[in-house]
């Protein structure tokens, strides 16, 4: 409703009905054009404001996404080490090679943790993936049908 009152500024609202011109058709056309231009200007102004608003909102959304990302990465890294250490411990238990399985597989687990983090951080695969998935889907389509 506030927008409505904004628009009803002096001069504009009264334009089309009160047209004391000589030939009503041409004057009306001019007035309509002028009015259209004014409205277009206002619309552009407003769409800029709206774009800024959505950008601001998406900015706050991306910061939350960033928090989710951070929580994700820490546990991904830890999980790699835990699983590596677990495998090493099991190998030690079954094969009886005292600490060596644990040592070696802890290192592999560390590498796997790094791999997990890199997989989530590196920007290349996600940008390449949509192309690849699109290609794959295109390739899949004939096979399915």
């Amino acid at each position: 409703m506030a927008g409505r009152t904004d628009r009803d500024e002096p001069g504009e609202g009264a334009l089309p009905p009160a047209s004391p011109g000589t030939s009503p058709a041409t004057v009306a056309a001019d007035e309509w054009a002028a009015r259209r231009a004014a409205l277009g200007e206002k619309l552009a102004e407003r769409s800029v404001a709206r774009a800024q608003e959505t950008e601001r909102q998406s900015g706050s959304g991306s910061s939350m996404r960033g928090m989710a990302e951070g929580l994700k990465l820490a546990s991904e890294f830890a999980a790699g080490i835990i699983v590596g250490g677990g495998i090493g411990f099991l190998i030690d238990r079954t094969a009886g090679i005292a600490p060596f399985g644990l040592i070696v597989f802890l290192m592999f687990g560390f590498a796997a943790g790094i791999r997990n983090v890199l997989r989530h951080v590196s920007p290349k695969p996600p940008t390449a993936a949509p192309q690849a998935t699109a290609d794959a889907e295109r390739a899949e389509k004939p096979r399915n049908s």
């Binding site: 994700k72 790699g80 687990g109 943790g113 690849a132």
Partner: protein, 252 residues
Amino acid sequence: MATNPTDPIHQFDVFPLVPIQIGGLDFSFTNSSLFMLATAGLSAGFIYYSTRGRGLVPGRLQSMTELTYEFTANMLREAAGTAGMRFFPFVFSIFTFVLVANLIGMFPYFFTVTSHIIVTFALAMVVMSVVVGYGIAKHGGSWFKVFIPSGVPAAILPFVVLIEIISFLSRPVSLSVRLFANMLAGHITLKVFAGFVVTLSSLGAVGVIGSILPLLMAVAITALEFLVAFLQAYVFAVLTCMYLNDAVHPHH
């Protein structure tokens, strides 16, 4: 244990409500089962109730359901492409279950289903079974190429494959531990700060004044916990989508 009113672990006790013994195994209906049923019932009931009008122009409740739908659908389409959309019911169920379970846990005296690692691990294993099962069913043996990254020299390939396998095995662990640890730690922190208020205010006037600070903390942590409840459900669902992407498109 039950004698101490500020014991922060007491809220995670699982106790049988209806004891059931089948063949020496304990199948009792516990408070955990009750809240799982409540979670499933509440989420399904809300969706049925809110979409009962089937309005072309959605009302408040219906637009909430539609927003959740759109949110999950976009998440899945972004991560796994259009071919991954066949998993939409699965991802949507998991997302709503975890989200509602986390949010139900925020009520005082309610049991938090997702604060037990066996529940979150079972959820994670369901996800991984779907990934492996669908991947092998769809692509056969060539699905195992997911462990062989392209462009790696043959000399170090065995090590890379081993690392990839460990990395794959670590997925259910990280998925389940993250959710469980966040919910457990959050609820314990909340309970500890609330316990400070009780114990401090039993010290007289000075204690009552001193208990204002932990009370404020408890309020702030409650707000944080609502954020974490949503965030963890979101992370769980996003990672589910990413893992499903491996099942649908194993070659990357």
